[in-house]
């Protein structure tokens, strides 16, 4: 399972970076989304995958008696997902706006030389 996840994480990073290196803005955003999913998966992977109970101690005992899953990576992923939800929606609106203003989605053409004062 770990091996598979490691390969998938690597693939996601590679695919994301490849998409980010394209010139099209839409592909750039897709790349960002993919690579942040890769990061989330990496946290999940490195937080050790355990098949266990939720980390809630029964009321009558003081310590864990059974194997439990580490809740921290999940909390981290959840936070990261929520943050990237906001960032991605901003990104989509930004590229839409950029397309309307600059009339292109090619990053190479987004280098207008500033107009000098006349």
């Amino acid at each position: 399972m770990e091996f598979l996840l490691a390969i998938i994480t690597g693939l996601l990073y590679a695919a994301g970076l490849y998409m980010m290196l394209r010139r099209s803005l839409v592909k750039l955003i897709i790349g960002l989304i993919i690579i942040s999913n890769g990061a989330n998966l990496l946290i999940f992977l490195l937080g050790r995958i355990t098949k266990g109970h939720p980390p809630i101690i029964p009321g009558d005992s003081k310590i864990f008696t059974e194997i439990y899953a580490d809740p921290v990576p999940q909390a981290l992923i959840l936070t990261a997902i929520v943050i990237s939800f906001g960032l991605q929606s901003f990104a989509i609106i930004l590229i839409k706006r950029a397309y309307q203003v600059v009339k292109t989605d090619d990053l190479d053409e987004m280098n207008t030389i500033e107009e000098d004062y006349k």
């Binding site: 946290i43 990576p73 981290l76 990261a80 960032l87 990104a91 203003v101 987004m110 004062y117």
Partner: protein, 503 residues
């Protein structure tokens, strides 16, 4: 009063929420923002005073004990930076209320601006590496909104680059956190500081360290990761550029300092990388600045150049180098914020920021020019202005270390700054200017009402005053930076304050 250190943080949060209730009422927002700025300065002043007198303060958020919950820590470095943030924040509040056009203010400029300050304050105060990530995200989301607000063509183009590289930096930062958590199983920085040196797997620790270096390196705009900065910082209104130039890159530097003085220690390889980066940053920033024609682009490249000084101090890693680095950080926040406001003032007077069309300023506005001369002199570091003293410490440190490459780079960087600023002064203030055609629908400084002029000048005077104090009261600042440096060198104080049972 136990939670004293949270007050600056909570107050900024309160302010931004409160401002959101006045979404359409710009005048009310201006007043709230400025009054709030004063209160924030007061609160962070109290925090600084407490930390100075009674040592490192900590709060365990939600009462969860240290390695498990999120800890907020205010050591002297954090408290100083929070104080500087609130001072720069107050100045920029003033400046925004005078200089940003109402069309932009109507789209929630002030609430977002205070969210940015909240993120900065939080990043300086947190003692948890993942929480640092969250504060960074708050900073970049607010900065995205501020940089695109208005939606002009140049702004959007700059924003796309700024946006992409900053998100990439966050993702790399997140990856680094993942690796670190996988290695150490903890996120509390003080806890990490005790766990990481004992780990067997040094190679992976180094990978994590390099990932942090790249992530924070993009944010603090070091060579070769700085390209987003000059592409975007000249596009937003000068008030926004002021807070960005003054604080956004510095928060990256702060994170580098925190991570590399607390968690990843005694790594010769890393120190060498840092030194190489510092030298190249100094060179590329200075040379990049030489060829620019736009005042704001010149300042943007100078930001990059001067980040090099701080990274050099971090790379040398001796106490005296740290003192120089911290002093430079303090000086740089004040001066860079002020410089972008000065560029805004020049823009308001002349209607352009292009050096070729500027001129005559000293002839027409001698008093204003003298005022603008103060930050410029501080930037160059003419003794006894503020930029001089940290360079003394840095040069002494490099001589002690016998590290002549750093020494050469520091002197080169200072010299080129001198050349650039002198040329700027000659071109903008002394040269005989062309008669420019007046723009319609543009509020020139000369045509403003007296009250508005004062509003424009107060923040510049205020920060110039702070810069002068840093320069002439260098004794106090040196004392402060020495104390911070000793805290950075000896991280046991920090760890002890966060996890007391750790003996």
């Amino acid at each position: 009063m136990q939670q004293l250190l949270l007050y600056p943080l909570l107050f900024q949060l309160f302010l931004s929420i409160f401002l959101m209730f006045f979404w359409k009422k710009i005048d009310a927002q201006k007043i709230i923002s400025i009054v709030g700025g004063f209160i924030a300065v007061f609160l962070s002043g109290v925090l600084f005073y407490t930390v100075w007198n009674s040592g490192i303060q900590t709060v365990q958020a939600a009462s969860w004990e240290a390695p498990y919950g999120i800890t907020f820590v205010a050591d002297t470095l954090s408290a100083t930076l929070v104080l500087l943030t609130s001072i720069a924040g107050l100045a920029v509040s003033f400046f925004s209320s005078a200089s940003v056009i109402p069309a932009r203010l109507r789209f929630g400029y002030f609430p977002i601006y205070h969210f940015l300050l909240l993120g900065l304050t939080g990043a300086f105060l947190t003692g948890d590496i993942f929480n640092l990530y969250v504060w960074f995200e708050i900073i970049i989301i607010s900065s995205f909104v501020l940089i695109t607000l208005g939606g002009e063509k140049a702004q959007i183009e700059g924003a796309v680059k700024y946006f992409t590289l900053n998100i990439l930096a966050s993702i790399i930062f997140l990856t680094a956190i993942a690796v670190l958590y996988g290695l150490a199983g903890s996120l509390n920085m003080a806890d990490l500081a005790t766990i990481i040196p004992q780990l067997e797997n040094r190679k992976l620790v180094e990978v994590a360290a390099i990932l942090f270096l790249v992530g924070f390196g993009i944010k603090s705009a070091v060579f070769p990761l700085y390209f987003w900065l000059p592409a975007s910082y000249h596009t937003p209104p000068s008030a926004v550029a002021a807070i960005f130039g003054g604080l956004l890159t510095k928060v990256g530097v702060y994170a580098l300092i925190r991570v590399f003085t607390l968690i990843f220690l005694e790594d010769v390889f890393l120190d060498q990388i840092l030194i190489v980066i510092a030298v190249l940053t100094l060179f590329s920033g200075a040379i990049g600045s030489l060829v620019q024609k736009n005042v704001r682009k010149i300042f943007s490249y100078l930001i990059i150049c001067h980040i090099g000084f701080m990274i050099a101090g971090l790379g040398m890693g001796t106490e005296i180098a740290f003192a120089g680095m911290v002093f430079y950080l303090i000086h740089d926040i004040m001066v860079k914020t002020n410089l972008f406001m000065v560029s805004g003032l020049i823009y308001r007077i002349k209607g352009t920021n292009n050096v070729r069309f500027l001129g005559d300023l000293y002839d027409k506005f001698p008093k204003l020019s003298l005022l603008m001369f103060i930050p410029l002199l501080s930037l160059i570091g003419v003794p006894p202005f503020s930029g001089f003293w940290p360079k003394v410490s840095l040069i002494t440190a490099s001589l002690n270390e016998k590290n002549y490459i750093i020494l050469g780079a520091i002197i080169f960087g200072s010299l080129l700054t001198l050349i650039i600023i002198t040329r700027l002064w000659a071109n903008v203030f002394w040269k005989k200017g062309k008669e420019l055609t007046k723009r319609d629908h543009f509020l020139y400084f000369q045509k403003m009402t007296k009250a508005k002029k004062i509003q424009f000048l107060v923040p510049i005077i205020m920060l110039a005053g702070v810069s002068l104090y840093i320069g002439f009261g260098a004794e106090h600042m040196q004392q402060l930076s020495n104390r911070i440096a000793s805290e950075l060198i000896d991280n046991t104080q920090y760890i002890e304050a966060v996890i007391p049972q750790n003996n």
